[in-house]
C-alpha cells in the first residue's frame, strides 16, 4: 500500500518539468537509492511516481564553448567508459570505477547520485574538484525556468539539497580542465566493492614545477554534506608541495572536518583517516602529475 495515485515516464525534459510542477512527485532515474529507501520506510512516496529514465537528450557528455556538460541520466558505467571524460576529467572516471558494483553502476545515474545528497556520494567529490555547477529546470507560469547552482553550495544536510520539489536536475557541468590540471580521489572502506565510504578525499589543482594553484580539496562522509576543504586548500594554494606542506595540509584537513560516530566508523577514526589519506593523496597527485 502506498499513496501513489499516478505514474509517468515522460520523454522530454519539458514534459518532466510540467509533471513535477505541482511539487507532489517522487522523482527517480536508476532507482537504486529510492528503492531501498522506500522499502526501509526512510522515504515515503508522494502522489506521482515520476520516472525520468525515458527522457531523451539527458544522457552522455559533450564539450562546447570550453565547458563539459554531463546529462543527469548518464549512468556511472557511462561515466566510466566515456572517452571525453577519460581524457579531460579522469578523476571522475576513477571515482566511477570505485562506485558500488558493476550491476549498480549500470543503473545508477550521476544526477541521482547528486540529488540523493549523501555526504558519502562518490561522484560528488570529483565534481567538487572540477568546480561543477548543476542545471535545474522547473515549469513555472507556462515556461521553463532555469537555475544554475555551484555544486559546493547545493547541499544542506544528509539527503538535503537546494533542489526544490518542482525542480529537475538536468545536467552537471564544469569548465574543461586546463592541461596542467591534476587530481586524485581516494575512498576508504572495508572492501573495495559495494562499500559506502568511511571517508573519501579528493585533491585537484593546476600543477607547475611542483606548485599547486587553484587548489581544490573535497571530503566525503566527514560532515553533514560532501564538503570543500577550504582551509586545507589555503595551506597548499600557490605552494611548492614538499614534506612540510604535506604535513601541514594533512593536519589542517583533520582539523577542519566534522565527522560523527556511526555504524561504519568512529569520529576519531575518520579524523585519523582524513589526516593520513590527505597527506598520501597530496603526495600522489603531485608526483604522478609532474
Amino acid at each position: 500500500m502506498t499513496s501513489i495515485e499516478a505514474y509517468a515516464a515522460p520523454e522530454t525534459v519539458e514534459d518532466a518539468a510540467k509533471l513535477a510542477a505541482d511539487g507532489t512527485a517522487t522523482i527517480f532515474a536508476g532507482g537504486t537509492d529510492l528503492m531501498p529507501q522506500t522499502k526501509a520506510g526512510a522515504k515515503v512516496f508522494s502522489q506521482t511516481l515520476l520516472n525520468l529514465r525515458r527522457v531523451e537528450g539527458m544522457r552522455g557528455a559533450i564539450e562546447e564553448r570550453g565547458e563539459i556538460r554531463i546529462g543527469a541520466l548518464t549512468t556511472v558505467t557511462d561515466v566510466l567508459k566515456n572517452e571525453l571524460l577519460r581524457a579531460a576529467a579522469p578523476v571522475l572516471c576513477d571515482a566511477a570505477d570505485k562506485f558500488a558494483s558493476g550491476q549498480i553502476r549500470n543503473s545508477a545515474t550521476i544526477g541521482g547520485n547528486i540529488c540523493n545528497a549523501s555526504p558519502a556520494a562518490d561522484m560528488i567529490i570529483p565534481l567538487l574538484l572540477l568546480g561543477a555547477e548543476v542545471e535545474l529546470v522547473s515549469w513555472v507560469d507556462d515556461e521553463a525556468n532555469w537555475r544554475l547552482i555551484p555544486l559546493k553550495n547545493f547541499f544542506k544536510g544528509p539527503g538535503q539539497s537546494k533542489l526544490r520539489k518542482n525542480e529537475i536536475l538536468k545536467a552537471v557541468k564544469f569548465r574543461t580542465p586546463q592541461t596542467d590540471f591534476v587530481a586524485g580521489f581516494v575512498k576508504f572502506g572495508t572492501r573495495p566493492a559495494l562499500d559506502i565510504s568511511v571517508v573519501s578525499v579528493g585533491i585537484g589543482g593546476q600543477l607547475n614545477s611542483g606548485v599547486l594553484t587553484n587548489a581544490r580539496v573535497a571530503f566525503g562522509a566527514v560532515a553533514p554534506v560532501p564538503m570543500r576543504g577550504l582551509e586545507t586548500e589555503a595551506v597548499i594554494e600557490g605552494k611548492k608541495i614538499d614534506d612540510k606542506i604535506i604535513k601541514a595540509a594533512a593536519s589542517k584537513a583533520a582539523a577542519e572536518v566534522a565527522p560523527i560516530d556511526d555504524v561504519r566508523a568512529s569520529a576519531w577514526y575518520r579524523r585519523e583517516l582524513i589526516q593520513t589519506l590527505t597527506g598520501r593523496l597530496l603526495r600522489d597527485v603531485v608526483q604522478t602529475g609532474d
Binding site: 500500500m1 501513489i4 515516464a9 536508476g30 528503492m35 522499502k39 511516481l49 529514465r53 558493476g102 549500470n106
Partner: protein, 162 residues
C-alpha cells in the same frame, strides 16, 4: 489500493505483459507475479547480486529496479539462459568446475558472468574478479567461479579445453 500500471516487455525472448503496483521492484514481479523463481532474493538492497538479471543486455540488480521501468525493455533472466540442448556453456562450466555449492548465488553469478563474457571476451583474471565484485557467495569461495568463467571464456574463443 496500490496504484497499478500495465507494462509490456520482452522477457527471455517472449513478449510479456503484466499489471503491477508501480512501487514494486522487478525481482518481486518476476518471482511473485510471473512465477519465475530462478532469480533469487538475497539481501534486497543491491549488496549481494543474487537477483542479477540483464536489462537491455546490462547486468542489473532486479531488487533495485522499479518493475514499471521494464516497460519496453528486453529482460533476460536465468530461465532464458538455457539453450535448446540444455545448459549453456557458462552453466556447464559452473558444473564442470564445481562452482556451485548451495546454489543460491548461482543464478546471479551466471547472469553477471554472461554479461561480462558478452562485453569482454578477453578478460584477465583480475578483470574477472572485478566483474564479479557485486556478487556474494557464502559457501564456495570464489576460486571455482572465477575458473568457470575463465574456462567458458576460453571455450567461447575456441581455445580448446581452457
Amino acid at each position: 489500493m496500490s496504484f497499478k500500471q500495465e507494462i509490456s516487455f520482452t522477457l527471455n525472448g517472449d513478449l510479456t505483459t503484466a499489471s503491477i503496483p508501480v512501487h514494486m521492484d522487478t525481482l518481486t514481479m518476476l518471482r511473485d507475479v510471473l512465477q519465475l523463481t530462478g532469480t533469487k532474493l538475497g539481501c534486497g538492497e543491491g549488496e549481494c547480486g543474487a537477483c542479477t538479471i540483464l536489462v537491455d543486455g546490462a547486468a542489473t540488480n532486479s531488487c533495485l529496479m522499479f518493475a514499471v521501468d521494464c516497460d519496453g525493455r528486453d529482460i533476460q533472466t536465468i530461465e532464458g539462459v538455457q539453450t535448446e540442448d540444455g545448459l549453456d556453456l557458462l552453466q556447464k562450466e559452473f558444473v564442470e568446475k564445481g562452482a556451485v555449492q548451495c546454489g543460491f548465488c548461482t543464478p546471479g553469478l551466471v547472469m553477471q558472468g554472461t554479461a561480462m563474457l558478452n562485453e569482454n571476451p578477453g578478460m584477465s583474471e583480475d578483470e574477472i574478479k572485478r566483474g564479479l565484485e557485486g556478487n556474494l557467495c557464502r559457501c564456495t569461495g570464489y576460486t571455482k567461479v572465477i575458473d568457470a568463467t575463465a574456462s567458458a571464456m576460453a571455450k567461447t574463443r575456441g581455445e580448446g579445453q581452457g
